[in-house]
């Protein structure tokens, strides 16, 4: 991989490849309520250094990277839990402002963190958890082969798009309503031909 990309780009890519390109190719960023709430929630996580939870050591804001995936990022929380052979196994925990998603976006992001931990520490990371702000509960995520494959495939597609500096065309969808970049993307524009627009104005 030529360049390390942020792990968060995986989630952007799965949400909408165009949104991902606007952020990571075109360097556009617009805040809305959701992005600000997410940032405030993370600031709270970032403000602490380390602690203990249910007998496990917790490290917060842990820098991560994987050469294989070509990704880097920061895990909100990594807990060290005792494994079967007595060695401690890292257990990544990600904080999300909303409610659990039906699709795999958040699980992919967490699994990418686990792959980073595996590569950096040379061990096997079987599971982690996502803490959701809405129901205020932890969802356990098992890093199975299917999820790991999805992470690798998404990372490859992401790298390809960024390397080509390509911004895919807009696709109008329900999710555009929650997207802070809708104003930049203009998804409703469709394929109105500019030439016929020009000609009809000239004829009036």
């Amino acid at each position: 991989m030529s360049e390390l990309l942020p792990i968060s780009a995986l989630q952007h890519y799965l949400f909408c490849p165009r949104q991902c390109a606007l952020i990571h190719v075109e360097k556009v960023w617009v805040e809305n309520r959701f992005t600000v709430e997410g940032r405030i929630m993370h600031r709270r996580v970032d403000s602490e250094q380390r602690g203990r939870r249910a007998g496990a050591d917790q490290d917060l804001s842990v820098p991560l990277k994987s050469e294989r995936l070509g990704l880097y990022g920061i895990a909100d929380v990594v807990e060290m839990v005792p494994g079967p052979d007595g060695r401690e196994i890292p257990y990544p925990v990600e904080y999300k402002r909303g409610s659990p998603k039906i699709l795999d976006w958040d699980r992919v992001q967490l699994c990418a963190q686990a792959i980073c931990l595996e590569e950096m520490l040379g061990l096997f990371v079987p599971e982690g958890a996502i803490f959701y702000g809405k129901p205020r509960r932890r969802d356990v995520v098992v890093f199975d082969d299917k999820l790991k494959l999805l992470v690798k495939e998404t990372a490859m597609e992401l790298h390809k798009m960024i390397a080509e500096a390509r911004t895919p065309p807009p696709v109008k969808d329900k999710k555009c309503r929650s997207c802070s970049l809708a104003g930049e993307c203009m998804p409703g524009l469709g394929n109105a031909k500019v030439e016929s627009y020009l000609l009809s104005a000239l004829k009036e």
Binding site: V25, E26, V28, A182, V194, L198
Partner: protein, 343 residues
């Protein structure tokens, strides 16, 4: 879409702007103080001797707020902004197109169509609204001449032809512009466009409003990641914002010119609000400047239907929409640049 925020225009000489938390504090020489939260602003424009603290400038740069310094008469001096942002690939594509004669002509044609169609609409509006009070024959003839340019613009044209057409369309329009000044008591006479310095009150008003338009268009282009200097219809000339001038063409008549006409025709500016220098240069006084700035801000809040994106937007946002459409055209999301047509 970007909300229509407000530009803070500081015209009181000797004012000092500083940062207080998330606010801009404007102190006048007489000691009076006013506070404006940064998040409700999208720009600060300082006229004449207005000072800003470096911390305020830094804060504005961080928040994406352009701070510009103009002379008292509205001539652009400098702008303070943060590190270059936006997409370098987009700017490169802008340069490549500007180097390609075919692509440049296509872009120039779009800007010219915007200019011609909107100028024609302003003349037709004048005919419709005041046909009984003016020499409608002159206006009709000019509108018909613009029709013939419109016909010529229906098919592609080479760049030199586009630039020639631009000058002729402007001439036709300004030749009859005086017909649209209804309050003809000899105070506001217009015999053609002149500038640097303007030699009559109408030109003085026009120049000032064009400065405001240029400022807003330029900020919108920069916010969309484009280089305001590299234009298509307007040739590169060091220091000249060619692309901003290109995009201004479609806005001049219905944004700038009509504000000037309205201010004169409704008697909101009077000849007492101007002074004449020894050289014949005409300057406006503080009150007139304030009146024009208020009219400009008010015009920007007018809601219009954008004929291409088919969304209702405040006119002030139209600059940003056009900048984004231009960026999308350069990225090949669109098959051309769709100018804003005033209906």
């Amino acid at each position: 879409m970007k909300k229509l925020l407000n530009t803070l225009y500081v015209t009181t000489q000797g004012s000092y702007l500083s940062k207080d938390g998330e606010c801009i504090v404007v102190r006048s020489e007489d000691g009076s103080k006013k506070k404006f939260p940064v998040h409700v602003l999208d720009g600060v424009v300082c006229f004449g001797n207005v000072l800003c603290s470096p911390f305020l400038l830094g804060h504005c740069a961080d928040s994406g707020l352009a701070v510009s310094f103009l002379t008292e008469n509205g001539r652009f001096l400098a702008e303070v902004k943060g590190p270059q942002s936006g997409n370098v690939l987009l700017r490169r594509e802008q340069y490549r197109r500007a180097d390609d004669p075919v692509q440049t002509s296509a872009m120039a044609r779009s800007f010219l169509i915007g200019k011609t169609v909107n100028s024609r609409t302003v003349l037709r509006r004048g005919l419709r609204d005041h046909g009984d009070r003016i020499d409608s024959g002159r206006l009709e003839k000019a509108a018909l001449e613009l029709d013939s340019y419109a016909k010529r613009l229906s098919s592609p044209l080479v760049l030199e032809e586009a630039r020639g057409l631009e000058g002729r369309a402007a001439n036709v329009y300004f030749n009859v512009f005086d017909e649209l000044i209804l309050k003809n008591d000899g105070e506001f006479t217009f015999t053609g466009r002149n500038r640097r310095p303007p030699l009559d009150k109408v030109n003085c008003l026009l120049s000032f409003v064009y400065t405001l338009l240029a400022h807003d268009v330029r900020s919108a282009l920069e916010a969309a990641g484009l280089d305001p200097q590299v234009g298509f219809l307007h040739r590169d000339r060091p220091g000249r914002p060619g692309l901003a001038l290109d995009v201004m063409e479609e806005f001049r008549s219905f944004m700038a010119d009509r504000i000037v006409l309205t201010l004169i025709n409704r008697g909101e500016v009077s000849s007492k609000g101007f002074s004449v220098k020894e050289s014949g240069a005409v300057l406006m006084n503080d009150d007139t400047r304030r009146t024009v700035l208020q009219a400009w801000q008010k015009r920007k809040s007018d809601i219009v239907l954008h004929p291409y994106i088919k969304e209702k937007i405040p006119l002030g946002i139209a600059f940003h929409v056009q900048a984004k459409l231009l960026a999308r055209c350069l990225r090949n999301d669109l098959d051309g640049y769709p100018p804003f047509f005033w209906k």
